[in-house]
Symmetry: C2
Subunit: 272 residues, 2 copies
């Protein structure tokens, strides 16, 4: 089967086009898509170039290109359609019904979906990112200002989750790695007890953990399956005993973990 070239075209970042485009393509198994984002296509000249790139890709692969488009200017959208691609316009199908329900016409606004929000929102996001960095891996143990406190053994996925929570939800997410001493004592560390309601546990399959640790510290005792098994078992028992909500990161993306944590605690804010 020929490769299908796919283009996410936008007058802004292209994040919306790529997000919905990937969601659509996920529903078609077994097809080899070649994806490319064409962002900031905001002049007629750039649209013409984009249309030419798309046309050439279709010729090269001998298949109709697919275009997921969020350009809001109708003349530009027409130029794009002339490339011979299947053009899926993200806004077009929804606007008439939204206009009717909202009782006002839409005002096409170029590239605004991921543009800068107000200074306060920006500051919150920066502050959360800074908090995640200073409260990563047990560096700063003052959790009074934390919104959420992730707990788990080393390399269970705490750090990227905290950074994602900061960047996308402006949440002050700290993380605390259960140390060999904590696991030896087999007791929730005192410094965490005070923040019981902020705790969220991350667990992981020992085999997977072993693989991840081996990438970091090849041949170390820390990366042996035996140590991974023991640490995960103690941590999971501790989460259960202390009734800390827990999620396994083995088959879960950072996006999913973050979304589940936000749902668990009922947080509202988000940036997408």
């Amino acid at each position: 089967m020929p490769i299908r070239p796919v283009f996410f075209v936008s007058d802004g970042t292209g994040i919306t086009a790529e997000t919905i485009g990937n969601s659509l393509l996920t529903q078609f198994a077994g097809i080899d898509f070649e994806r490319q984002r064409l962002p900031f296509v905001d002049t007629l000249e750039k649209v013409r170039q984009a249309a030419e790139t798309i046309r050439v890709a279709g010729e090269k692969h001998g298949s109709q290109p697919i275009v997921v488009n969020t350009i809001v200017d109708s003349e530009m959208a027409r130029v794009l359609a002339a490339s011979g691609a299947l053009v899926l316009d993200v806004f077009e199908p929804f606007m008439p019904r939204l206009e009717q329900s909202l009782g006002q016409p839409w005002t096409p606004t170029v590239g605004q979906a991921h543009a800068l929000v107000d200074f306060e929102a920006y500051e919150r996001r920066m502050d959360a990112t800074n908090f995640a960095l200073t409260h990563d891996d047990g560096t700063d143990l003052d959790y009074d200002d934390a919104d959420v406190l992730l707990v788990g053994v080393s390399r269970s996925g705490k750090t990227p989750t905290c950074l994602y929570l900061a960047l996308h939800y402006s949440l002050r997410a700290a993380n605390y790695p259960l140390t060999p001493e904590d696991l030896e004592a087999d007791r929730l560390p005192e410094k965490l007890r005070r923040h019981r309601r902020k705790l969220f546990g991350l667990s992981i399959d020992p085999q997977r953990l072993q693989k991840i640790r081996e990438e970091r510290k090849p041949g170390s005792r820390y990366a042996t399956l035996e140590v991974c098994r023991r640490e995960v078992a103690i941590a999971e028992a501790m989460f259960k005993r202390e009734q800390i909500p827990v999620l396994s990161t083995t088959h879960t993306s950072i996006e999913e973990i973050a979304s589940k944590i936000v749902a668990q605690f009922g947080f509202r804010r988000s940036h997408f």
Copy 2:
């Protein structure tokens, strides 16, 4: 005008529903939307609960709720529609044309758009995140493995951009803050010269910089407008002289900066 309750409903993370939903709503100015994400609605029971939440919100605000839905099960979608909301189904308008062009029917796949990808892709993402952390703020100056190297004065937005590039594009992004000594010497630091082709400059409006620095170190000399003005002027002149591509972060979101950097260097990978 009454508040319009908006729900992003999904059997997965809800990221796709929220992303497209926000893009649609951005096109309607002056309406007060109250947004809520309802993720992981993946059983008939949860759909009934979601429909009830939506119905109640419409009653409370005296206005028709708007639902942006990515649930792929048609029976569940029907239950949702019974809430009385305007239900915008994200997949429905595009599927017939995609099916026709691809020559195969779609196979509804629950919550897959932001699910975990393969181990190699996960590892690349973790590795990039780790790289961003160890090469943040001039801590590790070995840039041989960097994909991109952001340069700018302190607090110009380098750190969150690097973290975003790591989490969303699996790029090894380092950042180097121009120190007072570098600015005094008014010359591109020797350690950066070797990596000229990886360099990308971030600049910022001095007034904005002053505001951001004042939040961090109130009353410091570092946060005076005079120092901010001088540092930004020297940095911008340096970028120009050395022909380093540069972007002002003043009116630009992290998403936009990252997307522009990716476009500038022609990188391909992304997670959305």
